[in-house]
Symmetry: C2
Subunit: 294 residues, 2 copies
């Protein structure tokens, strides 16, 4: 990871974590629900989504007092989706990021509800922004809801389930990932750009950037599932192979997947170059996505 990105993360992530701590303090939630919600929000992870929101603002030389709250809200959505994904009736995962999953700690019923409430909280947080004009807030709300609902993330999870045990084409695999992970990643960049009040042409380039890093992110995940250890990943490695899941390495071979990864990386950087962000934080996040080993 570049030194600049490292510094940016060191500076921004503590703000995000303080925000999360404050968020669950003094809330009149039933105690166990507060604990269950907070448990998964604080369980860590790469925080790539909030970083994208914050990085795009910084790259555009813009600031917003609501930036952390917007970044946090999208991470709440991501977190709720992980809790439901891990449920016995879904992926049935006992570990996530090296820790026991929510339902293992709090029981299934509480996990279902904690995730539900995290989704609600995300929208409550967005509707409560104090330093952004109402029209922009509504645009962000529409972006986040579209990206995370049936036309986006949740739709992608359904497609993913339907594809299990089937030999998918590359187009079908891409369709899954564009929805399942791509849409929410893109909405991070879009939300930051909305806070920065960018022109439509800049937004267009940022969308091209987003869709390419979204796919790159997933291809890299698939590659790591084959090449990394369970210890490195903090989750079960080789799970995709074990469950005969369609992945980029399975469809294209490891080298083919790597070539495709690099192609999307290049397209993402080209889009940034066009708007003068060739050596921006966003470009460094793209590099990080490609080069990470967990």
């Amino acid at each position: 990871m570049s030194e600049q990105l490292n510094r940016f993360m060191d500076e921004q992530l503590p703000l995000l974590h303080t925000h999360f701590t404050e968020l669950f303090k003094g809330k009149s939630y039933p105690e166990v629900l507060n604990e269950a919600m907070s448990y998964s929000v604080h369980a860590g992870g790469k925080r790539i989504r909030p970083l994208l929101v914050l990085a795009v603002l910084k790259d555009l030389q813009s600031t917003s007092q609501d930036a952390v709250q917007v970044a946090g809200a999208i991470e709440l959505i991501h977190t709720y989706s992980l809790i439901h994904d891990d449920l016995p009736c879904m992926d049935d995962d006992d570990f996530r990021r090296g820790n026991p999953t929510n339902h293992v700690v709090f029981g299934e019923a509480t996990a279902v509800l904690a995730a539900d409430a995290l989704q609600t909280l995300a929208f409550e947080e967005l509707a409560s922004l104090q330093h952004t004009d109402p029209t922009t807030i509504l645009a962000i709300l529409r972006a986040v809801s579209t990206a995370s609902g049936a036309a986006g993330m949740v739709g992608g999870q359904i497609l993913d389930m339907q594809g299990e045990g089937k030999q998918l084409t590359l187009t079908e695999l891409e369709e899954i990932h564009v929805h399942k992970t791509g849409a929410l990643l893109a909405c991070c960049v879009e939300s930051g750009a909305l806070l920065a009040n960018v022109s439509e042409s800049v937004m267009q380039s940022l969308r091209i950037f987003s869709s390419n890093i979204g796919l790159a992110f997933q291809i890299k995940d698939d590659i790591l599932d084959v090449t990394a250890s369970t210890e490195q990943l903090g989750k079960t490695a080789n799970k995709d192979t074990a469950s005969a899941k369609s992945t980029y390495p399975a469809l294209l071979g490891l080298e083919g997947a790597q070539a495709k990864l690099e192609n999307h990386h290049k397209l993402a950087l080209d889009a940034l170059e066009e708007i003068g962000l060739g050596s921006s934080l966003l470009s460094q996040i793209a590099d990080y996505i490609i080069n990470r080993n967990a």
Copy 2:
């Protein structure tokens, strides 16, 4: 049910159902997800929540082209909560409103996700209102998210779970219902009133009305569980007694519960009287809640 309320329902509910039909038409959702979402939304029920939104506007002699969309959004929230409530890890109910529950028809994983997407859709719908000023939309979004999240409906479900098999005090029982059903019912009245742009003093009276019909609604539910048949209810009768659940009849006896029901009914009507709505649709909805037999 009064003739006026009956006419109002005959006039308004088809608009709501057309709205729901349109809502799921032409959406780019994966087909099974669209079906699962639409299945529970169209499964019927009393539609008391949307009716409250629409009735308060009518009573206040106000109109809004967004009324049905707001009413529908809150019904989507209610519907998502029912799907998750019915899951095997929660209440494990196979029937709802006389029909097989969502997970029985579509499987657990799809049911979890369909409900998630219904919640998202509710917020997307609210953020997309076309005929309401952005500040009012945000106020409605805050009301709906607060009422339905960890401080409201979801919190109430957790309290309800925690109370299972325990002998609760009347205060504890009330705490559950104020959150579990009261908050969302109250937010229907509040959302309608926000669309009608009422004064704070009218809003105060409406809040007193709402909190009282919220409790009345639940007390009546508990009474019906004892006195009505499974056929009448479209769900298993005597379920509360069978599961030794704390209910108003169990705590106060059937007569005591009935007296409490009537007291809340009177307080609700008094609050309406104060703002000149003594013989309004809202008062007739209150009567209907008290007198219904399913």
